[in-house]
Subunit: 549 residues, 2 copies
């Protein structure tokens, strides 16, 4: 490299590459996960890490271990790579379920908050990724000729794909529809599609997908009954961005407004309050998870001098509870808040798209005095990457936005550059499934959720299912490995399964059979362990603990 003479180019001073593990103790306690072979005999898999064999600047040259440098001085095991005799197919074993964080194996740099499980149950965090990451390695000089690097990358990807298939197969806990086929859109992955700026005003960057984005937005504006010339919106990166935007709009409309949100609101709502330096009042919830409007009323009356910005949950994160929008509005009116003194943001993360199909569900509509609605795109619709839809009233956005000449567009979104693929995914699914297709899927989800709840109760397991929801809440499984295998979201003594379109009866049966079998070992007759009482979480009528059954 010293031979290169181009004048403006310097040879950088570059620190040594280290392997992904920072201490060999970590490595001993926790063999690398993602590329772990389950038997030492698996040909060509070495559990040794790559090390800095030639780390001085300027070379930045690091060999991939298990290849020509297999015999060299090595430290601890973090990234595994492949020998020259590696057979990618032979090595593709399903990844074993990883152990749970807490204790020795999560003692890496980032695990100081990992909690012990003794005494009162505290938050159990996932394991530290630093012990298992896939280090970036510098290509070797002869890689172009040998193809070794390509082979290495291909094998990592093949193994990763296998892992993803396994994980997708067993996933039940988060509200993501994992059943989609966007094969027809693969051709677009070659383009850097960016809807930077406003969806409605083209920027000078031509490689965008605004025509799809606005088509999708129009569909959602119709769904929530706002006229085309009266709405503004955009496709966000996730539900959090929708909440950040909705609450920001609320704050800009009422700069001294107080944010009200029920305790069961998504954590992003409280994050927004902190980011935006807003006063925030947490409102109590009913056992169902719905906002408690009696408490809401009391808190409103305590703060009548300040406008109210309210986050209304159209499906809470944990219990899938739907706040009663009409009752919220009625409570505001009863407390003397006229429409020019409150702003309602509806966090419809998951159910915003399911509600229109559910009888008796409070209707989300801009014909009511609401300011914004957000919904996630990767949840009920299903999408390779997270995304969401945010719709608000045009009158609000004009105050918030400003024109940015560099973009030749307007800046009213939280993000600047915006993923142009996500709108196409959504457009594609909306076109193919349509309103009727979603209706069928909602029907299936609700039916299957009822099936799950009934079978849990039949098996003597505490469980709750809100009427308008496909989120089945039940007793938290005792074993964290089981929780992780099925990727259940947990909070305190409860866990949940969100029944999405990809969750079939067969999958639920597999889960139920495994749960009841495992559970019989956790709570053996005459043993000390007892299923937890979850009456405080889901009501005594749903609890079948020793006391309540």
């Amino acid at each position: 490299m010293g031979k290169r003479e181009a004048s403006p180019i310097s040879t950088p001073s570059y620190p040594s590459l280290q392997d992904c593990n920072s201490s060999s103790a970590d490595s001993a306690a926790s063999p690398p996960r993602s590329l772990r072979s389950d038997a030492p005999s698996r040909a060509g898999i070495s559990s040794k890490a790559s090390v800095d064999v030639n780390g001085e600047p300027p070379s930045f040259h690091h060999s991939r271990q298990g290849r020509s440098n297999l015999g060299e001085d090595m430290s601890n095991g973090a990234v595994e790579t492949l020998s020259e005799v590696f057979d990618p197919v032979a090595a593709l074993a399903p990844e074993p379920v990883p152990p749970v964080a807490g204790g020795g194996e999560a003692n890496g740099a980032h695990s100081e908050e990992t909690i012990s499980k003794g005494g009162k149950r505290e938050i159990v965090l996932g394991r530290n990724v630093h012990t298992t990451c896939l280090a970036v390695t510098e290509p070797e000089a002869n890689d172009e000729f040998t193809g070794d690097k390509e082979a290495y990358i291909a094998s990592v990807l093949a193994r990763y794909r296998k892992t993803l298939m396994e994980r997708t197969k067993y996933h039940l806990g988060y509200p993501y529809n994992l059943d989609f086929d966007y094969g027809a859109l693969g051709q677009l992955q070659h383009f850097s599609i960016n809807n930077l700026g406003d969806p409605f005003i083209e920027s000078n960057y031509g490689v965008h997908s605004r025509q799809f984005e606005v088509g999708v937005l129009d569909w959602f504006a119709r769904l929530w009954e706002l006229e085309k010339n009266e709405y503004w919106g955009y496709i966000t990166n996730c539900g959090t961005e929708g909440n950040l935007h909705g609450i920001l709009v609320g704050r800009e409309v009422f700069p001294d407004g107080i944010l009200y949100a029920s305790r069961d609101s998504h954590y992003s709502v409280f994050k927004a309050a902190r980011m935006y330096r807003m006063d925030c009042i947490k409102v109590a919830t009913l056992i169902s998870g719905e906002i408690d409007c009696t408490d809401f009323k009391a808190k409103l009356l305590d703060n009548k001098d300040k406008p109210a910005i309210i986050n209304v949950n159209i499906g809470t994160t944990v219990k899938g509870a739907v706040d009663d929008l009409d009752l919220v509005i009625k409570t505001l009116e009863e407390c003397g808040f006229t429409q020019d003194r409150f702003y309602i943001h509806c966090d419809g993360a998951l159910f915003g798209l399911m509600m229109p199909f559910v009888k008796r569900a409070p209707k989300v509509s801009f014909k009511k005095p609401i300011g914004s609605v957000s919904v996630s795109g990767h949840k009920f619709v299903g999408c390779p990457m997270p995304c969401g839809v945010q719709i608000t009233r045009m009158e609000h956005i004009n105050a918030l936005s400003r024109n940015v000449e560099y973009l030749a567009s307007r800046d009213a979104t939280i993000m600047g550059s915006r993923n142009g693929h996500a709108p196409i995914f959504l457009w594609y699914t909306l076109n193919r499934k349509g309103y009727k297709g979603f209706q069928k899927e909602v029907q299936k989800c609700l039916r299957n959720a009822h099936y799950l709840k009934d079978r849990l109760r039949d098996a003597g397991i505490s469980a709750m299912l809100n009427e308008l929801s496909s989120t089945v809440v039940f007793e938290r499984p005792l074993d964290e490995e089981f929780v992780r295998r099925w990727q259940l979201a947990c909070k305190g003594n409860i866990a949940h399964v969100v029944v999405m379109p990809n969750v079939s009866i067969e999958k639920l049966d597999m889960f139920l059979d495994e749960l009841t079998e495992k559970r019989s070992t956790w709570y053996q007759e005459g043993g000390e362990a007892q299923p937890p009482c979850v009456a405080a979480d889901i009501g005594s009528e749903n609890c079948v603990c020793a006391l309540h059954k």
Copy 2:
């Protein structure tokens, strides 16, 4: 649908579908763009819009025009669709360059801010997308059998792909490396990959790519010289998210700190100040676009009682200027700001990844008293969707974050759900190109940028190229159609080309030939129009207007 009897499912009340245009005047002034055929004879393309043929609830049934409903009552042209005899290949013509916004054709709902071009030049916004969007249409009952809907979607996508190819070919203005091949990663598009929560702490959702993400973060932490156990970071959705995060960390460290940012800072910096309710002081810039440390000093001295949070630009948006980090630090020290009284965020959107390879560039390093660095992933690296990398010190993040049990992870990112594909794209490119590969590409970009600047000057066109930059700033082309064809970013009297790895000499020659040819018609001998003086923008030594040449 009335025949469906499933009990919890309602038949929604759904408003009528309208086509994408809200008035026929719009349509007359502006034929739909994205699906426009360039000749009426092109078989099967109708410029008629889809209309609500059966819009009452509950059917939500809308036919795609140009098919069986072609003869029905139609309104104005917004979404075009295909007849049954449509031949997708025959219809694939490159899309003509769209007209510029302003005046009649942008009179849609969202164009009220579009500016007239008379008098002083004001911001020219792109055209209103609502006139050209691709409406979502409900599948018809027999679609499954006829395959018509699939054919329609396929033809829309094929045409769109053609447009993207054309747009990509002519793009020069924004700092996006459009040259990448992620074919090997296409297999992962079937998975809903989501790194929700913290990169270092696995959530319970198993379909993630943290092992890739942390590998990429380690690489960048090394680049910026921060030890593995001393950094925290994550892969963001774009440069804006990096700035939002860096400035938020700064504010949490110094809650009453004042944000200082030069006038040439990215607009997201000022957006952050507004979002976070921070006092923000704009600092003057030199002609080059660098922060003016004399002005900075004066402003610091005026506000010695408050801590300072400084946004340092590693490559400004418009001029590619690199703030002198060392001089900024020196200025802080001279004004009596000790290290416990300031926080520096480095916005390295584009050049954060090019700087290490450029001689004489101020070195970005955590060995200096900086708090965070962000860089975009879709710019120099190139990526189908926007993304970025954010690195900060571990000590700062612990104060900001909180554990979220629902995630079994920590909430220290701006977004909650996070795109799990982006880290894999970055990991793939870093592994394949490596440090040396980037070095070569930076070399090529700088060389080609010099070539462009020299040829512009040879042609008598005012132009500037900062020493450390591949952003060539020059006289704004008179014709907005030319600006849009080459997708140039403009500000006032100047435009720029950002020479990225995909910008070859051939492409620059094509651009230069076209520019000089067009320019001779804009500024004819003896004509009234004169090339603008841009001395105020890029200095009289770079201006070759009538006065300065």
